[in-house]
Symmetry: C2
Subunit: 376 residues, 2 copies
Amino acid sequence: MGAYRGHSSGGRRVFLPGPLPTFGGLVTPRRAGFTYAASGVDRSDVSAALHELLRGTRYRPPIAHGRPLELPGHYAGLVRVGRETLAITTDTVGTKVVLAERVGRWEEVGEDLVGVNVNDLAAVGARPAALVDTILCDRPRPAVFRSLGIGLGRGLRRAKCALLGGETAVVPDLVRGIDLGGTALGFFPRRRAPVTGARIRPGDVLLGIPSRGLHANGFTLVRRLLDSSRVRLGSPRPGGRWPVGRELLVPTRIYSSAVDAVVDDPGIQGLAHISGGGVRNLPRLRPHVAFVLDRWPRVPGLFRWLQELGSISDEEMFQTFNMGIGFVLVVRAGRSAAVERGLARAGARDVVRIGRVERGRGVRLPAFGLDYETYS
Amino acid sequence: MGAYRGHSSGGRRVFLPGPLPTFGGLVTPRRAGFTYAASGVDRSDVSAALHELLRGTRYRPPIAHGRPLELPGHYAGLVRVGRETLAITTDTVGTKVVLAERVGRWEEVGEDLVGVNVNDLAAVGARPAALVDTILCDRPRPAVFRSLGIGLGRGLRRAKCALLGGETAVVPDLVRGIDLGGTALGFFPRRRAPVTGARIRPGDVLLGIPSRGLHANGFTLVRRLLDSSRVRLGSPRPGGRWPVGRELLVPTRIYSSAVDAVVDDPGIQGLAHISGGGVRNLPRLRPHVAFVLDRWPRVPGLFRWLQELGSISDEEMFQTFNMGIGFVLVVRAGRSAAVERGLARAGARDVVRIGRVERGRGVRLPAFGLDYETYS
C-alpha cells in the first residue's frame, strides 16, 4: 500500500509494507493505533531511493522508436508506436501472497494478478489486450500452480484479456514463498483518447463502483492486525459469513470491462482505481479541484472490523484501503445517468453516486471529518 | 538458466537455479563435475507445475480485444491490436543480483535488466519501444538505486528504448536483497513481419554476434563454482585482466540495435538470443533442420576457467552459457555478406560466420563432438 508515482512519464508505483517486521513483536493496538508514522517506514528514504534510480533513466529515444506520452503520476505509461497509442502498467499482488500461503488458497491471488494490472489500464481508459506474468518461487509446486492458473484464467476471462507469456523463476536465494507480478498491455480502440483527468471541473459527478472487499494492497498491515489480535483465520469475524481467511482473500474486482463499455462516452472526464493510497488517488487526476465525497456509502463490515482490531483512524483507513468503493468515474453531470446505465448494461449494476467535484483542492469526506490536502 | 518455453502463445520462460541450495555445502567438483542431473533440480517437477499453471489460462478474448498470434515456444508473445503487431516479453536478471551484492556493484545488473528483455524482442525482429521495471527489495537503498539507475539509463540508450514506468516494492517478507525484473514492449515498424524461423532451410548461413561475457543466466551455478573453489572476487583469474567479480558482472551485450538495423533485409530467416539453454535455443526456431556450428570461434577464457573450476562437460557448458556467441542470425547464403555489412554499419563489426543449416535436426558442434538432438 502507499502508492507513490513520481516517474515523469507514466506510472511508477512504490509498494511499502505496513508496519515493518522491524516494528517488533506484539503491540498494544488499543493504545497506539497502527499508522505509517509509527511503523518505522520512512517514506523519505523510499523517495530518496527512487529519485536516485530515476536520475539515470531520463532518456528519450529517437522518434522512430516510439514516442512516450507525458502523463505525470498516472496509472499507466503511454507510448505511441506506429499508428496506435499503447498503455502499459506493471504491478504485483504484494504480500497478499503471504496470507494465501497461510490459508492455503491460491485461486484468488491468481485472479488478483490480472485485476491489479487491468484496473490500472482501465484508469487511463485503455482496453486490456495482453498480460504477461512473472512468478518467482522458492520451489516448483504443481498443486499451487494449478490453483494459480485457475484464478489467472478466471481473471483473464473477466478482463477479456489474453495471457501472452511469462517468466517462472525458481530462485530460492532471492524469494521466500511465491511472488506474483505481471505487466498488462492496453490500447485505445478506434479514435478513443486516453482519459487523463485534465478537463475535470467543478460540477462533475463522482460515480463509484463498489469493491468486493480488499484490493491486493495493505496486506502487510492486515497480517500485523491479525497477528496482534490472534485472529483465527478459519472462523468468521463477528457479522462475517465466511471464515476470515477466505473473506480477506476475495479477489480484486475487475472493473476494466465495465469501464471499457462506457469510456467512449463524451461525459467521462477521469478514472481512478482506488488501490494503495485509497481516496488520495483522486487528486492525482487533477490537483486543481476538490473531490468532495459527501455520499460515501456505508463502509463494509470487513473494513470496520480491521479498523477496530488496530484502533486505526478513519484518516489512515481511507488513505490505505478502498473502504468499499474500488473504482471512481468522474463524469459531466449531464452524462451521469447515461454512464450509469451503460455501466449497468455492462454488468456493473451497483454503481453509486459518491460525491462531486468542487472548487478547491484535495479530497474531503465531510461525514468522516476528513480533508486530505494533497496526494502524498 | 535452463530456459524453457512451453506456453502455447508466445514466450514463457522458466528460470532454474544451477545446483540448488539443497545440494549441500562444499562439493568436490573435480570428482563429480557440476551438472543439472546432479543438482537436485528435477526438471519434470517444474514442467508439471507449469503445465498445471497453464491449464487454467487458455482463454482467447474476443477479437476486438486484440488477436494473440500463435508463435509456440518463441522468445516473445505477439498480439495484433488495431493496426499494429506488438511483441511483449518479460524477464528478470535472475540470481546475478546476488553476485552484484557481493561485489557491491549495481550498474551492470541495471543495464542487464534492459538487455535481457530487449534481446528477446530482437529475436522476433521487433524494435524495442518501452520498458517497465519491477524492483523488489527488502529495504530502500538510495546508493544502490542510484547505481541501478545509471546502468538502466545506459541500457536504455544502447537499446534506444524509453522507460515507461515501473513498480518498486519494499517487501522484506518476500524478498532477500533485490530482485530486478522487467517487461519490454516492441513493435514492427512499417511493413516488417515478425521473424519466426519458419522458412529456415538447409544452406542458410549462421552469423554470430560475440557476447561481452556471460549473459544474465547461469549465475546460481557460477556462484556455486566460485564458492566451492574459494575464488577471491577481488583478484583476476589466471589470464584475466579484471578482478573476477567485475569480469563476471560485465553486462549482457545489447544486440537489439544492430539486429534492428538489418532485420528488414529479405535474407534474414531466423534470430536467436543465446541465453539460458545455450545453443539449444537454435532448434526452437525450426525443429526440422540441423544447425551445424562448425566454425565456432575460440571459447573465451572466462568460460574455460569456469568450466575447469567445476570439471563441467562441454555438453553442459554449451547448453548453459553463451560460450562467446550471444546472438545468432540465420541468413540466406546470398544475403549473408550484405547482412554482415549492415551489422558492421550499425556498430557490430565483430560478427563471425559460425556455421550453416543442413538437413537433419538438432544442433551439432563437430569440433567439440557435441550433438544435441532436440531443444529440451
